[in-house]
Symmetry: C2
Subunit: 212 residues, 2 copies
């Protein structure tokens, strides 16, 4: 038995968990579900995760975990090295807040599911893409400002990568896919540093078994 | 000096933090920002929270914390009794996942900011309200299913209230405001139990100093 990650190569929430698994040097199997073919709504997958969203992580003992941040926190508690969160409670709160700007306020408002809801309202493709771009840009503006008030360093919060970087890199990937002008020098510098680390590189969508 | 909670009586993210503060029996001052008058976009508040969202919690030492779940986790670490999360890592992950269904996938997709984005696209009020109702209903369906697979008890996860309940009660408040038919017997039972506890009752929007 081993860990099984149910995901989709392009899902940025799945991507976050892949980075965390690679950082912790944990072996896992990939169980892909093609979101554009709605495979995450199949009865078999809904039995795993009634929310019908990826990712879900199935543990050695068969327990099923859902929601990317909850999964990352589980991995961080169970496999403490290298840590995804700092030890100081205020710093932990700042890292989590940064992660939540992305995981609560950017990504769920620009993901495929919501864009399809807009299309159902007869919003045309240009306006749908403008929506995604505006949501991402506004959120990443806040991310850049939050970092300006924090510690310096090569990564989001200091000298090593953590939960904030785990969320940032996939979100920048989404920003690129929507053709956004990337106007955040600090965020781009962090991305470039992260991409020099194999845990981040190996987790990228294009290297996944279900990549198209 | 004391804790200062920047919020809005009707904001469900502020409401979550109020419940956590009351559960931990922490005194705090209320600094209201009227969302419908865009006071959270004022320069003075943006200096506190560049994201321009409530809540923000200012600590005794002047440190500013943002994002409701990050704030609740900070309070839980710093003031451990009563705990908002169980000790077992898998159970912790399940409670956090439930909280994130609400805080990531329901609330940010139905809050005032997003509904205003829809209005900017000339979506009429009926369709905007239908959007909110659909997002809430789908999310609460998932919540009810997640609980069916978990431990029994009067609260979301067992015999005492925690982070899941802290998120659920305000979200049910939103469901009511949008006139949703409340078709989730377990969730409603939990709500009724929570409302018998003063920490939940005293945190309700109608008892806040800025209530209208």
């Amino acid at each position: 038995m081993s860990l099984v990650l149910h995901g989709y190569f392009r899902s940025s929430a799945s991507w976050r968990v892949r980075i965390a698994l690679h950082m912790k040097r944990l072996a896992y199997e990939t169980a892909p579900h093609h979101l554009r073919r709605s495979e995450q709504r199949a009865a078999e997958y809904l039995a795993l995760n009634p929310q019908g969203l990826v990712p879900a992580l199935v543990l050695d003992g068969g327990e099923i975990l859902t929601q990317s941040l909850a999964i990352c926190e589980y991995l961080d508690t169970t496999y403490p090295e290298p840590p995804l969160l700092p030890a100081n409670p205020v710093q932990r709160a700042r890292v989590r807040a940064f992660a939540q700007v992305i995981a609560c306020d950017i990504h769920p408002v620009q993901n495929l599911k919501i864009l399809n809801r807009l299309r159902d309202l007869k919003i045309d493709d240009t306006a749908v893409n403008d929506w995604a771009r505006a949501v991402i840009a506004e959120g990443l503006d806040a991310c850049e400002s939050l970092l300006a008030a924090g510690p310096s360093g090569e990564f989001c919060f200091g000298g090593r990568p953590g939960l904030a970087d785990v969320c940032l890199i996939p979100q920048l990937g989404n920003a690129r896919r929507f053709g956004l002008e990337l106007r955040w020098p600090r965020l781009l510098q962090i991305e470039s540093t992260c991409n020099s680390i194999s845990a981040f590189r190996d987790s990228a969508p294009e290297y996944q078994p279900d990549a198209e």
